[in-house]
């Protein structure tokens, strides 16, 4: 029987490649063909790096043939949001303006580390312009279509990353998350996502957005893949000033430990007062499976969300100020107007937000003395239609784009690690639950995720696409 790489996890592919049940080249060719066949409908890719992929695959196969260790992700296919540097490819960051830049001369740190682990890079993925987006309706590259319902948004800004994983085009994808850009696409597209602690994974070689809040992280269809990709990307990096000097805390070896002693609670108040019933049902299902009956409330969450909003606007507006002066007409219009307004943020607002961050960290640290994992919805709604402008929220119709991140923004604001755990419902759209931990507790979150996966509560099958 021929090996099926589409429905296999990265680790299953790596095992098959190592055991010569398939070759990295066969896996790569199969998925490149699948990408070509679905690109017109999903639009996840902006660059397909076939040459690089086949060269990397052949290197892996040659290593296996010599009896050497090809790495834990041998032959595993992945792709990256086009905000990551890939040597020889222009890092467009979803923009028109950056197309004028020369191709990257080297890989982003995260890409180098995946390559060193044996993974094979199939290309660069569509994203919302400059990552200031939650729906990935990119006016330059076109919208990403959600593989679970092609008329809907896959989420943003890492929409191509989530769609590529959900559609079985790659086993793992990299995204970035500043306000929710990994967790929102995980929720809309029904796949696993990991936004690690701020500073855990190097951002070097990624086009910046908001230095105070930018994170990178992986997407996958299995928790083990999420852990494997996360583990190989850890480690200090002098190229990213925010990257921690702590030693790596490997998650894979802990993954199957039981959850004895792990204290889990549901976030109440702000996180359950609004949103569609479906997203709260997802939280209830996860809480029930984990036996989590406690409720915890965080103080002044709306201020945390506001502070994330203003830090984002101010830092991004300043980062792009020169481009706004010289090339305003070349931006995606809604993103340009957000950046223009952001460039005019009063200093007092920005500094109040950064001071509030210090205060709120103290409050939340206290809460984590009595709990290890907090549960909350990732999004206030399931995937909206492409072009949708508003949704019903607390009984009122409100604009969609500025409100998709209400549950994710306060969490990134503190840099807390989060696993987005997808809950699938037959005949309905998926919704992800945030498993939120204390700083540096990714391995605990991944253990909880693994338990949910084994219990069948959270799953991420390849979307059924009529090919």
């Amino acid at each position: 029987m021929t090996f099926d790489p589409v429905n296999s996890s990265a680790l299953e592919i790596a095992a098959a490649v190592r055991e010569r049940r398939t070759s990295a080249r066969a896996v790569t060719e199969k998925l490149l063909a699948r990408i070509e066949a679905t690109q017109g409908r999903i639009n996840a890719f902006t660059a397909i790096t076939s040459g690089r992929a086949l060269t990397e695959a052949d290197t892996i196969d040659a290593t296996v043939a010599r009896g050497r260790d090809p790495g834990p992700l041998a032959g595993a296919p992945y792709a990256v949001k086009n905000i990551f540097d890939l040597a020889g490819v222009v890092t467009v960051a979803g923009s028109k303006i950056n197309r004028d830049n020369p191709p990257a001369t080297s890989d982003a740190t995260a890409v180098s580390r995946l390559q060193a682990a044996g993974a094979v890079c199939l290309g660069a993925l569509n994203m919302g312009e400059y990552a200031y987006d939650f729906t990935n309706e990119n006016c330059h590259d076109g919208a990403v279509h959600n593989p679970r319902d092609l008329t809907r948004s896959a989420g943003g800004s890492s929409g191509g990353s989530a769609a590529a994983v959900a559609a079985g085009l790659v086993a793992v994808a990299l995204g970035t998350d500043t306000n929710g850009s990994i967790r929102v696409p995980s929720s809309f597209s029904g796949i696993w996502g990991l936004k690690p602690t701020y500073g855990r994974l190097s951002r070097a070689g990624c086009f910046p957005f908001v230095a105070s809040l930018d994170h990178i992280g992986p997407f996958a269809r299995s928790v083990a893949d999420l852990a494997a990709a996360y583990d190989v990307m850890q480690g200090p990096d002098p190229r990213d000033a925010a990257c921690t000097l702590r030693p790596p805390n490997l998650a894979m070896s802990e993954l199957n430990r039981d959850l004895a002693g792990v204290r889990i609670a549901v976030l109440g108040g702000y996180f359950e007062n609004v949103g569609e019933p479906a997203v709260h049902a997802a939280v209830s299902n996860v809480a029930a499976a984990l036996g989590a009956s406690r409720r915890v409330e965080l103080p002044a969450v709306e201020c945390a969300r506001a502070a994330a909003y203003v830090i984002t606007a101010a830092e991004a507006g300043q980062l792009h100020l020169e481009r706004l002066k010289t090339r305003a007409a070349d931006f995606d219009p809604p993103i340009r107007d957000r950046l223009l307004a952001g460039a005019l943020t009063p200093a007092a607002s920005y500094l109040q937000a950064q001071r509030f961050r210090t205060w709120w960290r103290g409050q939340v640290q206290t809460i984590f003395q009595n709990v290890d994992v907090l549960l909350a919805p990732a999004t206030p709604l399931t995937a909206p239609k492409l072009g949708q402008q508003s949704f019903l929220f607390a009984g009122r119709e409100i604009p969609l784009r500025p409100n998709i991140g209400i549950f994710t923004q306060p969490i990134t604001f503190l840099g807390l690690p989060v696993v987005a755990a997808p809950v699938q419902t037959a005949g309905a759209l998926p919704a992800a639950v945030q498993l939120i931990g204390a700083p540096w507790s990714e391995s605990i979150l991944l253990r909880v995720a693994r338990a949910l996966e084994q219990a069948g509560v959270c799953t991420a099958p390849v979307a059924s696409l009529a090919l």
Binding site: A306, D337, L340, Q352, F356, T358
Partner: protein, 188 residues
């Protein structure tokens, strides 16, 4: 003779409008007064003033300090209704202290027997977003950064400024202890 847009009427009133525009750019008050109907029934609504009667219009013009040298007509439309009435509508752009400003101008022209074409009624306005004082302030702040916000981008920018302000309001009102410092990132 067609009732709408009779060519001879269009030609005559277009010439009047062009002359009026030149007078406006030059701030030639005598010429501007000449084109307005000399009657207490003439009315002109400006962007911030309501002028009832030719005398009020004249007084306003005499006292106004303007610099319309870089005024540019973006679009001109003329609607002739019968042989003696026409409505002129134009969009314009002008440089003011806060940057480029767009506006709209509507004039009703009537041909008085023995006198000729005169403006009986006029209305000048700014697009809603730009008439907002918060926006004038924002344009001034942008200018201080060397940032020129193009006319097409202003309404969207204003929407976002208003949204940012609404979201930030509770944060700004939140009482923080004095010793709380901004979250640090820089490590020397």
């Amino acid at each position: 003779m067609p009732i709408i847009n009779y060519p001879a009427v269009i030609a005559e009133v277009t010439a009047c409008c062009e002359a009026y525009e030149l007078a406006l750019v030059a701030n030639d008050v005598a010429a501007l007064e000449f084109f307005f109907w000399d009657s207490p029934l003439a009315i002109r609504f400006g962007t911030s003033e309501q002028l009832y009667g030719a005398r009020a219009i004249s007084a306003f013009r005499q006292n106004r300090v303007i610099n319309f040298h870089n005024r540019r007509v973006l679009r001109f439309d003329l609607l002739a209704l019968g042989s003696d009435t026409a409505v002129a509508m134009l969009e314009y752009e002008v440089e003011v202290a806060a940057g480029t400003r767009q506006g709209r101008q509507t004039q009703v022209w009537f041909r008085f027997p023995g006198i000729g074409w005169r403006i009986t009624s006029a209305h000048v306005s700014l697009p809603l977003a730009i008439a907002d004082p918060a926006f004038t302030q924002a344009l001034a702040s942008a200018k201080a950064l060397g940032l020129e916000i193009a006319p097409d981008h202003r309404a969207g920018t204003l929407t976002n400024l208003a949204r940012n302000a609404a979201i930030t309001a509770p944060l700004l009102a939140f009482p923080l202890p004095d010793e709380i410092e901004p979250a640090p990132i820089f490590t020397p």
